[in-house]
Amino acid sequence: MTHTAVHRYFHNVATSTTSIFEGLAVTMSWMFRRPYTIQYPYSPRDPKTRLGGPETLPERYRGFLEVDMDICSACLACERACPVDCIRIDVEKIVLPNDPEKKEQRAMTRFDIDMAKCMFCGLCSEPCPTGAIRHTQHFESPVTSPLNLLMRFVDPAKPVIPYKVKKGEEPKTKPRGEIAAAMYVNRAWDAPAPKLPDIPRPVPGTSTDTSTATPK
């Protein structure tokens, strides 16, 4: 009979001592091992070394949106698909400033994406016939004003003529992420908010709308 109460008693003492000893050895081993933590976005030893950039993310990561205006056909499919209405496209028939023939053309005068509103669902890039609008792996763009996240892909002074989709031709586009890199990376995080034109809004109570007025 080995499993008497006395045996159990000393067995308990021995096992608890050795197991605590072994546990201490395990925790002590971590004092001599490198922590898994990566100090994003930089290592304090070398602040120039940036860790964990977009290139470490998977290819199909839904980061910031970018639009290749060279192949955008101005079909407005993305604007319609957006559930949060963060895309705003204006297409007008105008005379381009540098057009010698002074002919009216269909051109985009605005292509805005408010990345502060975007919920990164990817519904805009799905219907795009040319693959002009797409998500990138870029994700970091700290700003002090959310207005700085309003991305303008068309300069109002230089309207863009839409791309004509030709049958059997694959639209040539820039590598994914190149446009976004130019727009989002290395921006000043504390840049002042841009001055946006005031949009007049009806003030409640001072409505000039006469439709509800009593008829004469």
Partner: protein, 406 residues
């Protein structure tokens, strides 16, 4: 304290009328120094605790405030002090307000008899060890008081648990320190250190196998006394929110923390004093330190201080490491550990040591051989420990990484 008064008397001609004021002033200044020391020690400890916890969990820990996060505790303290001080409506207001100070008072008062070096000590009482064991037990009154005065079930449970725990573990705690008193023949902390020596085989921990066991038992009991993991039942987060200080906020909450953290100094310091040879410098006898003058005296003081602090770091590190190694014990397990294991083993070891002291007195050759053998055993434990540490690193196919400041 008396030494300081004498020194002031020798340096300045203080009239007899002002002697009581001088003594009172010295007491006040020393008390202030001790409180500041305990508070700063708590801050440094919580920094060390968080960094060590981080590394054990393969994290880094706080490293943003100040160089390597060293000033994190200042930020924590400022944050706690500026918080709103909430006193529950249904609480017993005077008791509720007083309880945290009673607890910190009990802990701070224990610092008085804990030496740092041959001359740095608040007061070398001839009943030092008894005093420190008795005065730190006052903390339990504060804990129980806060548990009751909060008028909250969680607080009351925490307070009751704490009372049961501290009262139970007082016994193995005191009994494990008793052989040191028997060997030195005194309760004075300084005299116990003076009876030991600088080399490991002159420490009481390696006196005999029983002494080594009692060191472990003292360590376990001291952890329970300070309510540290694995014995932090009074504040078990998973069942009692925060235990006896559930209802506390702001400065009073911080006072509890400082009290608990400062208690690790008392627990570790007693282990160093009674078991690990205190501030004794290897190769320098006590007589040489006493006879030293001028520069040599300062050198010895600094060396002794460094050695004491080094030993304290070792003991406190072990406490921190245990905290992040072991899970919390259950209430019944806590009682079983104390009454069924620690207490009987302590008694048996105590009587065996009495016999041991008769057969192999401290000065005898047999006693020395035992001590050298036990030192070898202790060294062997350390070697096996680091061999197991190495095994754990190799088994994980990891590389050695020796940067401690990330």
């Amino acid at each position: 304290m008396r030494a300081l008064v004498d020194l002031l008397n020798r340096s300045f001609a203080v009239p007899a009328v002002y002697q009581p004021y001088l003594a009172a002033g010295v007491i006040f200044v020393l008390a202030f120094v001790i409180v500041v020391f305990a508070a700063v020690y708590s801050g440094v400890l919580i920094f060390a605790e968080r960094r060590v916890a981080g590394r054990i969990m393969s994290r880094i820990g706080p490293n943003r405030v100040g160089p390597h996060g060293l000033l994190q505790f200042v930020a924590d303290a400022v944050k706690l002090i500026v918080k709103e001080d909430i006193i529950p409506d249904a609480s017993d207001r005077p008791l509720y307000r007083f309880a945290p100070y009673l607890m910190t008072m009990g802990v701070f008062a224990g610092f008085v008899v804990l030496p740092l070096s041959p001359h740095v000590i608040g007061a070398d009482l001839n009943i030092g060890l008894l005093y420190v064991l008795a005065i730190t037990a006052i903390a339990v009154v504060g804990v129980l008081m806060s548990g009751w005065a909060s008028n909250s079930k969680w607080s009351l449970f925490g307070g009751m648990r704490s009372a049961a725990q501290i009262v139970s573990y007082e016994i193995p705690n005191a009994l494990a320190l008793l052989p040191g008193v028997l060997l030195a023949g005194t309760l004075s902390t300084q005299a116990i250190i003076r009876a030991q020596g600088g080399w490991p085989w002159e420490w009481y921990v390696f006196h005999s196998p029983m002494m080594l066991a009692l060191f472990v038992i003292y360590f376990i009991a001291a952890l329970a006394e300070g309510a540290r993991i694995p014995f932090d039942l009074p504040e078990g987060e998973s069942e009692l929110v925060a235990g006896y200080f559930t209802e506390y906020t702001g400065f009073r909450f911080a006072a509890y923390f400082v009290g608990e953290l400062a208690h690790t100094w008392i627990a570790g310091s007693l282990a160093v004093i009674v078991f690990l040879g205190g501030w004794q410098i290897p190769g320098v006898s006590v007589a040489e330190i006493d006879a030293a003058q001028g520069g040599m005296l300062w050198l010895y003081e600094a060396l002794a201080l460094a050695i004491f602090v080094l030993k304290m770091i070792f003991v406190v590190f072990l406490m921190i490491q245990l905290r992040w190694t072991l899970p919390r014990v259950r209430v019944d397990q806590m009682m079983v550990i104390c009454w069924k294991y620690l207490l009987p083993i302590t008694f048996v070891a105590l009587f065996l040591i009495l016999g041991f002291m008769l057969v192999w007195p401290w000065e005898s050759v047999g006693g020395l051989l035992w001590r050298v053998a036990m030192t070898a055993v202790g060294l062997g434990v350390v070697v096996v420990y680091f061999w197991r540490v190495r095994y754990n690193i190799v088994a994980a196919r990891d590389r050695l990484y020796l940067k401690f400041w990330i």
